[in-house]
């Protein structure tokens, strides 16, 4: 999936992936997509909850080994 911006959150533990994603999303225009790469397994339920609460759209969530990739569209 294409993204307008990528956030490398590897090695970061809760709550940093969410906090940094929030900051990165702020810099995007509405409709743009942020790609987040994380290693924190807690980020799976966290990004789901984050999107449900903020209204941004979780387009895709992938898991490959111990890498978690999320695509969030700014709404």
């Amino acid at each position: 999936m294409d993204a307008n911006s990528t956030l490398d959150a590897k090695g970061l533990n809760c709550p940093l992936p969410i906090l940094k994603a929030k900051k990165a999303l702020k810099a995007l225009e509405t409709g743009e997509v942020l790609e987040i790469i994380a290693t924190d397994p807690g980020s799976i339920p966290d990004f789901e909850a984050f999107c449900r609460t903020t209204g941004h759209e979780l387009l895709e969530a992938n898991e490959e080994g111990d890498l978690y990739t999320f695509y969030i569209k700014k709404n």
Partner: protein, 163 residues
Amino acid sequence: MSESNAKSMSIIVTKGSLDWAYPPMILGTTAAAMGVDVSMFFTFYGLPLLKKELDLKLTTLGNPAMEMPMMGGHMAMPNIMAALPGATAGATIMMKNMMKKKGVASIEELRELAVEADIELIACQMTMDLFEYNIDEMIDGVTLGGAATYMERALKSDINLFI
């Protein structure tokens, strides 16, 4: 202070040890990241968390549920250990190393994010006086308030936490 639709949260921060600094900081910053209006009221031993220079410590004394990950297992810390010279410094360094190793944010970093997120940071006027702290010792952006100030925030908040 908050829009009609925005959720809000207040936290009373009463503890200032390295471990107990984390819950309010994590919850406050995460809530702010999720669009919640956050107000944090620092009182008693939470006040040192607002100081310009942070020097948070961790003690093993009176922490019967503390089990440090060591050598593949967990090691509980009997109270007698805390009597050893350097025990507090040792426990503090151990915790800080654990945080760094696991990629957990430092309290300094979380606090910076809290300020950036426009979280309202209120220092309890009474305990500032009690412990003879000066507002100049605290970071910029901290306001002073009393119990009524906190109460007003709490009455309007969806979530009120006492940590």
